[in-house]
């Protein structure tokens, strides 16, 4: 016999993510889910951000990117708390991995929790980790047609960072084209060209972070 069902296949993860979101809201922690291709500069962005904003915010990182096994160490070297999650070769972090990682973090007084997702533009976009915002990172060493090719990621992201602008003179990448496509997918997306090498453009990103932090209600 035919049995109609109509159930969301990722409902289990959605439930866990909703639980995480509630618990982050109670604790007043701003949670940002960082996604990009491998090597676009997620860890470099975190190193910069954690150092530059250390006087302002208490921050921690859940590290899921396994391109290099020393990402968590690089992040911890800034003085921030960091915990490495083993995805067992999986292509994305999911809610249950975050839940487990939280056991190794001291969340008291935390202002911002960054999740560095696995380097991949497709899969992480489907699996919420309880974040307030998704942050997409694209390096100018990749194609400016990435927003066109991977629309979901840019559709769900609040911010698109265009990293490695120091390389712009050497590559064929149009900031305008990438921004136009991302904006077409999502007219609210904030676009910040940055260089984690030179530090250029990071102030605008920090401005966005401060505003997002201020918009998040502190713990009751």
């Amino acid at each position: 016999m035919q049995i109609p069902i109509v159930r969301n296949i990722l409902e289990a993860n959605d439930r866990i993510a909703a639980q995480l979101k509630k618990s982050f809201a109670e604790k007043g922690i701003l949670v940002l889910n960082l996604m990009s291709s491998p090597g676009a500069g997620k860890t470099s962005l975190l190193e910069r951000t954690l150092r530059d904003l250390a006087p302002e915010f208490r921050m921690a990182v859940i590290e899921g990117d396994l391109q290099t096994d020393n990402d968590a160490r690089r992040v911890a070297a800034t003085g921030a708390q960091a915990v490495q999650v083993n995805t067992d070769g999986g292509c994305h972090l999911d809610g249950s991995m975050i839940m487990e990682a939280l056991n190794s973090l001291d969340l008291s007084g935390l202002d911002i929790l960054f999740v560095e997702n696995v380097g991949n533009l497709v899969c992480p976009a489907e699996f919420s980790v309880g974040e307030d915002h998704n942050i997409a990172l694209l390096s100018v060493a990749e194609g400016d047609d990435k927003p066109e090719k991977y629309p979901l990621l840019f559709h769900i992201s609040s911010v698109m960072l265009l990293n490695k602008t120091d390389l712009l003179p050497y590559v064929d990448f149009s900031l305008e084209k990438a921004s136009a496509h991302a904006t077409a997918l999502n007219k609210e997306i904030a676009v910040f060209p940055v260089s984690c090498r030179t530090g250029e453009g990071l102030d605008a990103w920090y401005g966005w972070l401060r505003a997002a932090r201020a918009a998040k209600k502190p713990a009751a």
Binding site: M1, P4, C123, E126, Y150, A184, K187
Partner: protein
């Protein structure tokens, strides 16, 4: 790719639903996925084959159906399907606006029905 996780979720739901409906033998499961989800049907087939092997579902058929991308114009609110998936910069056929379209359909990923006895 995340097809393995999708099939894992699928197996859990099928088990629950079969128990609820008092059926024990699965013939077919139908999955509907939106164009924006980037699900690759061949990868889904492979994941299904691998994960259903040596289970009570071995041999059951997986059928997939893709839902095309549907947008609502950011200016005049008219609904349309762009010719190419990547054409999210697609001009609205009614007013020509290229920016700020809303996704009406294309993000779905659900199990639609099973055939079992």
């Amino acid at each position: 790719m995340h097809e393995m996780s999708i099939v894992q979720g699928l197996l859990d739901i099928i088990r629950q639903e079969m128990g609820r409906h008092g059926v024990t033998r699965l013939h077919e499961v139908k999955v509907v996925h939106g164009r924006l989800t980037n699900v690759v049907p061949e990868a889904l087939d492979l994941a299904w084959e691998v994960l259903s092997k040596d289970t009570e579902f071995e041999g059951a058929r997986l059928v997939t159906e893709e839902i095309p991308l549907r947008l609502r114009c950011g200016a005049c609110r008219a609904e349309f399907s762009p010719e190419h998936l990547s054409a999210v910069l697609a001009p609205c056929p009614s007013c020509g606006e290229e920016l700020g379209h809303e996704v009406v359909a294309g993000r779905e990923m659900y199990i639609a029905q099973i055939e079992a006895e």
